[in-house]
């Protein structure tokens, strides 16, 4: 190979952004078209630096907006390259129009989304508003809880989305600042091992195949559009989970690190459980263990794959639980939180439905403390003891002023 390899220690101290940038280097991305935005900037900056220092054979395309960034990625992916970029928040919002193009065109792009709040008021810190904004866009969405996850899930994302049976773009989410800028120990793969796991890019319907000319991005009206969307949804619903589970298994064989669609923690005999995403999962796990010492059988469900939503797996994880709380880190805009909605749907047809309430927390990077979670588990246990929900269905955690609750 014409480019240089990098010697890595078995464990490096990396933040989530650098871990993702290293993964992009090791996957040898052909094209990154990017526009910088806090807190995701160091990912594409890292790729550009590795490229300039001859660690990658590829192209870095500087564009004038995030809309152009994803458009450039779409063009490069349609041409037949391995393509990735990164964004956050307002940039993600500007990308939304093109996200639907990428998934409808069945182009395997990996987008690292470093989750950040949406203005107004302007805010650069982490919440899940941008992640929620992408949930109907037809992409596969992975959620990392730590820098290690941000590193590993990039390799997994390429393996899944580039498969010719899948061909759907993939987002890898990590929490802004809490993951992206917090350095932790990350177990690394050597360059060769990492690249071999992902493998050479295998083009499909690429525009650079001159013997088989194709037109990408065609128009369909009422005569064909529905069939295309049906096909895309069918593939999301039936093909993606088996492929993800296969790749998770291969990754475990290679590294010993096991990922699951739904990450269950102490759920086997739990009475009460919280369902959450991102860095909150690790906080909740710590508190759940402490609650067990106090006699409350607490568990945690972390959602690793947000789209496709693991509807059946969630129901399976929660079927014997007595009281469940969902933790949504996005302003619900006039209804229940997304997780409350999805979890309620997945549990509705269970024989014994757990009691369910929803919490809104951490908007604009407000901390979710262990004290908040102790209070939450205590409240869930009180519901179990009373045999009914004793609080409003929706409560805000950690907001100043009079207690805020609804429904």
């Amino acid at each position: 190979m014409a480019f240089d390899k990098m010697e890595l220690k078995d464990i490096e101290v990396w933040d989530g952004n650098f871990a993702a940038a290293q993964a992009l280097r090791q996957c040898q991305i052909d094209v990154v078209a990017a526009y910088p935005i806090t807190p995701s900037t160091p990912i594409v900056e890292g790729y550009a630096k590795f490229l300039a220092d001859n660690y990658i054979e590829g192209e870095f395309v500087m564009v004038e907006s995030e809309h152009a960034a994803m458009s450039g990625c779409i063009g490069a992916a349609a041409a037949g390259g391995r393509v990735a970029t990164a964004t956050s928040s307002q940039g993600f919002a500007l990308m939304v129009e093109t996200l639907y193009q990428a998934s409808g065109m069945r182009l395997p792009i990996v987008l690292n989304v470093v989750n950040r709040a949406l203005a107004a008021p302007l805010n650069v810190n982490g919440d899940h508003s941008d992640m929620y904004l992408g949930r109907d866009s037809g992409w596969i969405q992975f959620d990392a809880f730590s820098p290690q996850g941000a590193y590993d899930l990039n390799f997994i994302a390429f393996r899944v989305c580039e498969d010719h049976g899948i061909r759907l773009p993939c987002m890898v989410h990590q929490d802004g600042f809490m993951t992206s800028h917090t350095a932790q120990g990350v177990e690394t793969l050597s360059d060769d091992v990492a690249y071999n796991f992902v493998g050479d890019y295998k083009p499909m319907n690429d525009m650079l195949d001159f013997e088989h000319p194709v037109t990408h991005g065609v128009q369909t009206e009422e005569d064909w559009h529905f069939e295309h969307k049906a096909r895309q949804h069918n593939d999301l619903m039936t093909k993606v989970f088996p492929k993800i589970e296969e790749v998770f298994a291969d990754f475990e064989k290679l590294t010993g690190r096991k990922y699951n669609l739904v990450e269950e923690y102490d759920m086997k005999d739990a009475d009460v459980a919280v369902v959450c995403m991102g860095t909150s999962v690790e906080t909740a796990r710590e508190v759940a263990t402490e609650m067990r010492a106090k006699g409350i059988k607490a568990g945690v469900v972390g959602i690793r794959v947000i789209r496709p939503f693991p509807f059946m797996q969630i129901a399976q994880a929660l079927k014997d639980i007595k009281a469940v709380a969902t933790l949504d880190r996005s302003a619900p805009g006039g209804t229940v939180g997304m997780l409350f909605n999805e979890i309620a749907g997945s549990m509705y047809n269970l024989e014994k439905r757990p009691m369910l309430c929803g919490k809104i927390y951490g908007l604009g990077g407000r901390d979710l403390t262990k004290a908040h979670l102790v209070e939450l588990y205590t409240e869930l246990q009180a519901n179990v003891d009373a045999g009914k929900i004793t609080t409003p269905l929706q409560q805000f955690i950690g907001v100043r002023g009079p207690k805020l609750s609804f429904l």
């Binding site: 065109m105 069945r106 013997e211 088989h212 194709v214 990408h216 096909r231 895309q232």
Partner: protein, 130 residues
């Protein structure tokens, strides 16, 4: 195209210009190419047009400006000689007329229903002021 179900076509918002592989397509004249049914070459969009270009070969100098500028590849030329306009794909934009350098012009726009032979017979004379 057949009325296929959701599971019966290739994935992606993508159409193939040819069924199977092609060879030396640049050296094959458009009329001799075996376009697939999904190629726009086989579909007429003549009804998009309200005004049409009429070609008068008496004044044409085969400069190829119209061929170069046509945004829909609707000028038919062979061996660098202008032959006419592909009326199945021309949208009537008038760019060919705009770029035509002859005096009088070799292409002029007329209403869609105009008779081509009659218009050529009454073609404008050379503009002496130009």
């Amino acid at each position: 195209m057949a009325n296929k179900g959701w599971d019966e076509f290739e994935i992606g918002a993508m159409l193939r210009s040819f069924d199977g592989s092609i060879d030396d397509i640049a050296g094959t004249a458009q009329v001799d190419r075996t376009y697939s049914p999904s190629s726009s070459y086989t579909a007429s969009v003549a009804d998009w047009r309200l005004v049409k270009p009429v070609f008068n070969k008496d004044y044409c100098i085969d400069c190829q400006f119209c061929w170069i500028y046509c945004p829909d590849v609707s000028i038919i030329a062979r061996d660098k000689k202008m032959i006419g306009v592909d009326m199945d794909h021309c949208k009537g934009c008038g760019i060919c007329v705009e770029v035509c350098p002859t005096n009088p012009k070799s292409l002029l726009m007329f209403p869609e229903q105009a008779e081509e032979e009659a218009e050529i017979a009454s073609w404008p004379a050379k503009d002496e002021e130009k």
